[in-house]
């Protein structure tokens, strides 16, 4: 069982959370001028890395706020969580155990 740290509520059980996809994807401005490739890239293409990944999570059973997490997709280790409008922490401490 994982404890996930909600930036608002603190550490809570993983069963209270749900995953909400890759983080920091900005909707392009002036979408009517975009090429089909660029639009498809925004809509569908995701990094899907093996290792460190920045993603959105929702504290579904708690404060119902979205937040960002930095998670290792291999070890499941969440190295940082931060509010949705915050920038990712600079030090990537993901390789520390």
């Amino acid at each position: 069982m994982l404890l996930i740290k909600c930036p608002w509520c603190g550490e809570r059980d993983e069963s209270e959370f749900s995953y909400a996809g890759e983080a920091h994807i900005a909707r392009p401005l002036e979408t009517e001028k975009l090429s089909d490739e660029a639009w498809a890239d925004y809509l569908f293409m995701r990094k899907n890395p093996k290792g460190a990944h920045r993603e959105q999570w929702l504290h579904a059973a708690g404060c119902r706020r979205y937040f960002n997490a930095e998670r290792d997709t291999v070890s499941y280790r969440i190295s940082a969580t931060y509010k949705i409008d915050e920038k990712p922490p600079r030090d990537q401490s993901r390789n520390q155990s």
Partner: protein
């Protein structure tokens, strides 16, 4: 028109007996008023309006509950609060809030018929709830003045300590209320 009909609690059909043995007491608190308040806590208009009607500004610290003018104010999110009022008071308080918040980006929604309250009290209250709740309810972690939204037996709830600290107050959606009460009664058998 609504006076023609008798109010009925969602738990009307469940018999609540005396607690047996060491089992915690389980009580329903029917017909309370529940208002959902949303707004920007730092906004001066919002601060002034809530101060005027509630006597305090809603708590900005996450997962805390305060009481003012006989209204309990629960933090639900950075811009969302739950006001629990005495039975029948909610419409007047809602009207006051709405007129005070006129022109301020905010919302007040009466959710009184959507929620129900259950009290669980006694020596084994925390142990009973911990049967299927992921929150740490030990007094070291869960203190008076705190509240939390989490799950109890898979149903979403808002929990806080009773003001006299003898047990817990659980706010649950009314559609889950009979399920949860029956679950609590069943789980309490282990403590009899």
């Amino acid at each position: 028109m609504s006076d023609l009909f008798e109010r009925e609690s969602p738990l009307v059909e469940i018999k609540l007996g005396e607690a047996k043995g060491n089992a915690p007491a389980i009580e329903e608190k029917p017909f309370l008023g529940y208002l959902n308040l949303r707004g920007k806590s730092g906004h001066t208009g919002f601060q002034a309006a809530t101060l005027k009607v509630l006597g305090v500004e809603p708590p900005t610290e996450a997962n805390t509950v305060i009481e003012s003018n006989d209204i309990r104010i629960y933090w639900l999110g950075p811009d969302e609060w739950l006001l629990v009022t005495a039975a029948g008071q909610q419409q007047a308080i809602k009207a006051e809030l709405m007129s005070a918040l006129d022109g301020v980006f905010s919302s007040v929604v009466d959710n009184s018929s959507g929620l129900a309250m259950i009290h669980v009290s006694g020596a084994n209250a925390a142990a009973l709830i911990a049967t299927d709740c992921p929150l740490d309810l030990h007094p070291r972690e869960f203190k008076p003045g705190q509240c939390a939204q989490t799950r109890l037996a898979k149903a979403g709830m808002t929990i806080s300590l009773l003001p006299d600290e003898t047990g817990f107050e659980i706010i649950i959606r009314r559609s889950f209320a009979d399920y949860l009460l029956l679950w609590l009664q069943d789980a309490a058998i282990a403590f009899e």
